[in-house]
Symmetry: C2
Subunit: 147 residues, 2 copies
Amino acid sequence: MAKGLAEQRRQEMIAALRAGGHRLTPQRLAVVEILAESANHPSVEQVFKRVQRDFPTTSLATIYKTMSLLKQMGQVLELGFAHWGSRYDGKKPYPHPHVICTRCGAIVDPESPGMQELAQQMAGKSGFRISHHRLDFFGLCPRCQGR
Amino acid sequence: MAKGLAEQRRQEMIAALRAGGHRLTPQRLAVVEILAESANHPSVEQVFKRVQRDFPTTSLATIYKTMSLLKQMGQVLELGFAHWGSRYDGKKPYPHPHVICTRCGAIVDPESPGMQELAQQMAGKSGFRISHHRLDFFGLCPRCQGR
DNA sequence: TATCATAGGATAATCGTTTTCCATAGCAGT
DNA sequence: ACTGCTATGGAAAACGATTATCCTATGATA
Ligand SMILES: [Mn+2]
Ligand SMILES: [Mn+2]
Ligand SMILES: [Zn+2]
Ligand SMILES: [Zn+2]
């Protein structure tokens, strides 16, 4: 079933590229496949290294361009950080909470309660028109807690 | 009363510097005063320009160093962003939600419901030991909604 | 298969932030 | 107040992730 989910996401991303009139290049397909399969919120560098296996001449700039394209199409969620590089979620490309290990950099998707309602509340109180949100919890993952 | 609050924060920051065995330089005191008074989550650049009024020879590096120092002492909250510069909150140096205008960059502190409990919930479900968190809501402020 | 605009590759540029290095000036201790 | 030690400030270079540039290569369509 995990395979099915990933496959579905892959199809959606490809469909989005088609719908947007973008070319289905081997590099893009490779990035899409990796994003659809990765549950660990990979970095650009990680995606880059994996794409390079199949296409050794691939440039890092291409990965950045593809990420940016998928992001603007709403097909990938970017978790930008100030001091270290961004991380990406291609499985759940919509806002959702994350739990982040400050030691090893692991990022996981926890079970999320009603964030939407909270967002609406915020909008009402601040007068803002909320478009999206971001919720991160920082700490030590189980593995890093043991020194 | 707003003056009282700012004054209190100023004292706390100065006390923290003293307690940490750090020198009370004119530049640091200037930064502290600005952070204690600013409710608009200023950027390094903004703090820099204001400090320069009183101390024209001030370097941008000094502001960065001071921000970093205050941050590691827990006297200022840093809101780091991936694509643009960081913003700082010296009035409430602990984690709390923010509402951010994606057009003009305005950042405000909304009324916050129980975030602490939510954090504990997350910890339990993920097995993480949560130390801090971050919650941002993005959208358009009232002023920017009118084109 | 010819055409053509888009996308890839290589590299330089960007920009906020950090580091480096030395002169300066807090701040004990006298 | 004076001295001396050392943290700190200032200036500029370095840094690192990301973006822009520029030219060639290659999907997509007919
Ligand atoms: Mn996720
Ligand atoms: Mn705040
Ligand atoms: Zn960890
Ligand atoms: Zn605005």
